[in-house]
């Protein structure tokens, strides 16, 4: 077996050194009735690299890759061009095969990268401090709700109706066990987000208001009014950003009063990957909240010779020190995805990020205008960044399937996310990024014209 270096001679020599007659002697503590008498039956034996690659390639080819079709899906996962050097760097063995940097003297590569990553995320979000990443946007969002409970000592979270429904479900799932009260709602199908409705649901018992920016329908709301109202009641504002590229065009949530900003970082460097692994981003606007944050934090210090270096710090918040009193049970996070984000953001820089955002928005505007010309189609949004909602006048889900059969990946039918809400059945979320070109937009519009007529 190609991954196992020991030879039979080695094994015999080593057993002799140990003083064991056979390998079975080393498993003597396992009760005989729990030991199998040979390889597990019904499963194939080992296979060559070539054979495994062939098997996996066959499975891969059963999927329609985004690059092979005009592609318009978003709803919390976005297709962006990832420069080739990003993948090269994350495949360097010193990054790929390293562990969590618990021995900082020989992990400065990972630690400096995390410090840069935290700094980038904090600036992107308009916050003071970001952590070294969480699993993904949805779990980061729940962690933020839990943190708001610790900070405010209240346990009633108010969720915007236009929060990604998967995120809402994760929060509600966790809250069933922690006994937090979750006040959720459904999105208003209208051109502008219902900020007043959300503000009206905040009361003196509210720990936090969770609002997505841009929201699940792609609308861009002014968070400042929501922040002011929440702060007046002593509640924290959690802003959720599922498309970080947007922050190259629209104001940072931290600058609009959000206390905790969380989100999905997948757009920068990580790729679609059928939903995971992704990259949870987590930041706080005010340094005073750092000690209530979940997850790893990398900080600057000096070594015994006075040279600058980096370490994981404030770990008394974490499970390996604090056990049942930790701020979270999280251990492993998304280190390599954070590196991919860090490298991609470094390649972009502020200039590149702003251009990328502008190009996304330009193409999205083109797409919205073109689709609005399709008979029967109307664009819902008054505002959007690179994703918007169109109403088709008939059920969107079968249309999406029909278009897929014609080789066009048209977007996400809202019915996929809200199967129980009949009023959303004719709505389609359309995301447009720099990877979309004008031919793709025309292909979607033409296909819709044919299918809807």
């Amino acid at each position: 077996m190609r991954y196992l270096p020991l030879t039979d001679n080695d094994r015999a020599d080593m057993l002799a050194t140990i003083g064991a007659a056979s390998i079975d002697d080393l498993f003597v503590d396992v009760p005989a009735e729990a030991q199998l008498d040979g390889p597990i039956r019904g499963l194939p034996n080992h296979a060559s690299e070539m054979a495994v690659e062939r098997h996996m390639r066959a499975l891969s080819k059963k999927n329609l890759a985004a690059a092979d079709a005009p592609f318009f899906l978003g709803a919390g996962a976005y297709r962006h061009h990832v420069p080739a050097s990003v993948d090269h760097i994350i495949q360097r063995g010193e990054f790929l095969t390293a562990y969590t940097p618990y021995q900082p003297e020989i992990a400065q590569g990972t630690l400096q990268m995390l410090f840069e990553f935290q700094s980038q995320v904090a600036r992107l979000y308009g916050c003071a401090v970001a952590n070294a990443s969480m699993y993904d946007g949805s779990t980061a969002c729940w962690e933020a709700v839990a943190m708001a409970g610790r900070v405010t000592r209240r346990n009633r979270a108010v969720l915007s109706g236009a929060l990604h429904p998967h995120y809402t479900q994760v929060i509600k799932t966790m809250a069933k066990f922690t006994k937090d009260e979750i006040a959720d709602a459904q999105p208003s199908i209208q051109g502008a987000p219902d900020a007043d409705g959300l503000i009206g649901r905040i009361d003196d018992q509210t720990s936090c208001v969770v609002v997505q920016y841009p929201d699940i329908l792609g609308r861009v709301s002014n968070l400042q009014a929501i922040s002011d109202a929440a702060h007046e009641k002593g509640a924290l504002v959690i802003a959720v950003v599922t498309e970080p590229v947007a922050l190259g065009a629209i104001q940072a949530p931290g600058d609009l009063g959000a206390d905790i900003v969380v989100g999905e970082g997948q757009s920068i460097g990580v790729g679609l990957q059928f939903g995971g692994p992704y990259l949870g981003l987590f930041a706080v606007r005010d340094k005073k909240h750092v000690r209530q944050m979940p997850g790893r934090l990398c900080g600057e210090t000096v070594d015994a010779e006075g040279k600058r270096g980096f370490v994981l710090t404030l770990s008394t918040r974490e499970q390996h020190i604090r056990r049942e009193k930790a701020t979270s049970n999280i251990c492993t996070n998304s280190g390599l995805c954070a590196l991919a984000f860090n490298v991609h953001m470094t390649l972009l820089g502020e200039t590149g990020l702003r251009r990328l955002a502008a190009e996304n928005h330009r193409l999205a505007c083109l797409a919205a205008d073109r689709l609005a010309k399709v008979p029967g189609v109307s664009v819902l949004n008054d505002s959007f960044f690179n994703e918007f909602t169109v109403r088709l006048g008939q059920d969107a889900r079968p249309i999406v399937r029909t278009l897929a059969d014609r080789g066009v990946l048209a977007g996400v039918a809202l019915d996929r996310l809200y199967p129980d809400v009949a009023a959303f059945a004719d709505s389609l979320l359309v995301a447009v990024t720099e990877t979309t070109n004008e031919d793709d937009i025309e292909a979607l519009a033409t296909a819709l014209e044919e299918v809807l007529s």
Partner: protein, 523 residues
């Protein structure tokens, strides 16, 4: 035997006046191939970009709802060559498995096959969206389902939740299944029992799920004290969380009896599967009566650790917990088609009691493809060899060190995949930390330090099955050398490491004056 040290270097050769390299200081701070690298924020510029994108029209109309970001963001950029060099230089300050043996106990740092990286990047896996119409992603569903079937077979369990994102997330999934099962029968229990030797994630998870955590006592052999456990069981105990093999590197001989006792008292058994690599292919946890166990794909099935994730923590479930598993998951129908079971079609698949959803989308696909390639490569016979070689390598280290280092449980029989030592007998004021840092100078990543908590100055050594005998012999030589120095009270170890990119870092300063993001202001 391969000569363990062919360079001719000896520890006593370090004794220059300052304990450092002989030779003049350099003007750059670099030492030949050991290269210093500034922060991105010190070398980049907000005007530089390494990506070619069109410049936006100056006054293009926009529909951003009046929320335009006019203020500077402060994100420096680098050109592509500068970027590649920046991160390449940083990478060289890291230790990884590719560089050498990485004996980090409980973390299972084994070789990461590059086939798995290649497979994960196939366009049909890397470039598909989680919400694409089902007929355009059947191959992706099949990967999840095929891996799920393998994991169920290897563990002898009844069902699996594939969506948890890492080990601790898997623990949470298992505990929430237990909680849901108890609530379904109207049984509000409050306590989860966890041994002191457990990973910190166990008590943190139980507390996060709303339980009170109590210790399970251990016996002198380093295993669960079955009689003490039985005495504590009762109507308030929801379940136990037990790591098997445990964090002392020992198999819990009484696991079946523990499970039977917990079940008899109306509770459930959670097994922390962090150490499944010691028994994979040879022992099925399902035969030991457990109800839920997470599997760290990044440990047992060799998906890369990546400097701290991403991991993946599927959870296998017993028949009793199966109905409560979270959404989504995959299921193959009689026609051979694999479906994604989500909130909207759970009823059709008879899954009406799911405790909920743990994450957006369907789990760590990029880890599933890697783990499946690893499993198919090894097959049933190879996986059995994996656990046998892992256990053989650990015992080889245990028996090669026990004359020199305190091995608290060596008397109680062979270890499993990791060997545990303590700091008893160290001279002077020397500690496990000092030994670890001296091992860094010898060219190794240290073992896990100060864990488990039940052994003073614990050193947990896990070589894994992907080390050759020659590599083990070289490591043992280095380990014995530093152990002898520690016992002899060699005070110079307190200054180690001498040869790493950094000397010991001031962690107290980092925590007292946290500097967690770069800022322009000099301090």
């Amino acid at each position: 035997m391969t000569a363990p040290n062919q360079s001719g270097w000896k520890p006593e050769m370090t004794a220059s006046e300052d304990g450092m390299h002989n030779g003049p200081a350099t003007s750059t701070g670099n030492r030949a191939l050991m290269l210093e690298e500034p922060l991105l924020f010190e070398i980049g510029s907000v005007d530089t970009t390494g990506v070619d994108l069109p410049e936006p029209a100056v006054d293009a109309a926009n529909r951003l709802g009046g929320m335009d970001r006019a203020q500077p963001i402060g994100l420096p950029g680098l050109s592509e060559p500068e970027t590649v060099r920046h991160y390449t230089r940083l990478s060289r300050q890291n230790y990884g498995i590719d560089l050498g043996l990485f004996p980090l106990g409980s973390c299972t740092m084994k070789h990461n096959p590059r086939l798995n990286e290649k497979v994960a990047r196939m366009p049909g896996f890397a470039d598909v969206h989680p919400l694409q119409p089902a007929d355009t992603v059947r191959g992706a569903f099949e990967v999840i389902n095929e891996l799920a079937e393998w994991l169920i077979s290897l563990t002898g369990m009844d069902a699996i939740a594939m969506s948890p994102k890492a080990g601790a997330h898997g623990e949470l999934c298992g505990i929430l299944c237990i909680r849901a099962a108890l609530e379904a029968r109207g049984d509000a229990r409050e306590v989860i029992l966890v041994p002191q030797s457990a990973h910190g994630t166990n008590p943190a998870t139980a507390a996060f799920a709303g339980y009170r955590v109590e210790d399970i006592p251990a016996n002198a052999d380093g295993r669960v004290d079955l009689e003490a456990l039985k005495a504590r069981l009762g109507p308030d105990v929801a379940g136990v969380m037990i790591t098997n093999p445990n964090t002392c590197g020992l198999f819990e001989r009484d696991m079946k009896a523990i499970s039977d006792a917990v079940h008899a008292a109306g509770g459930f058994v959670y097994c922390d599967g962090a150490n499944f690599n010691a028994i994979v292919g040879r022992v099925r946890p399902g035969d030991l009566g457990i109800d839920a166990m997470h599997i760290n794909l990044h440990k047992t099935f060799s998906t890369p650790h990546g400097g701290g994730g991403p991991g993946s923590g599927p959870v296998v479930l017993s028949k009793a917990l199966m109905p409560f598993g979270p959404l989504p998951f995959t299921a193959r129908t009689k026609d051979g088609v694999v479906h994604l079971v989500e909130e909207e079609n759970a009823d059709e698949f008879g899954h009406t009691k799911a405790f909920g959803r743990m994450t957006a989308f369907h789990g760590q696909m990029g880890m599933f493809t890697r783990a499946l390639a690893y499993i198919l490569s090894h097959g049933a016979d190879g996986l059995k060899q994996v656990s046998e070689d892992a256990v053989l390598n650990a015992n080889y280290i245990l028996r090669s060190m026990e004359d020199l280092l305190h091995a608290p449980y060596a008397h109680s029989g062979p270890c499993m995949h990791e060997a545990l030592f303590g700091d008893q007998g160290f001279g002077g004021e020397l500690s496990t930390l000092d030994l670890s840092k001296a091992l860094i100078d010898e060219g190794y990543h240290p073992m896990t330090m100060y864990f488990p908590l039940v052994v003073h100055g614990a050193m947990l050594v896990e070589p894994t099955e992907t080390e050759s005998k020659a590599a083990l012999d070289q490591f043992i030589h280095a380990f014995r050398t530093v152990a002898q120095r520690a016992k002899a009270g060699d005070e110079s170890m307190k200054q180690a490491p001498f040869y790493a990119p950094r000397r010991r870092l001031d962690e107290t300063l980092a925590a007292r004056k946290p500097k967690l993001a770069w800022s322009e202001d000099a301090d």
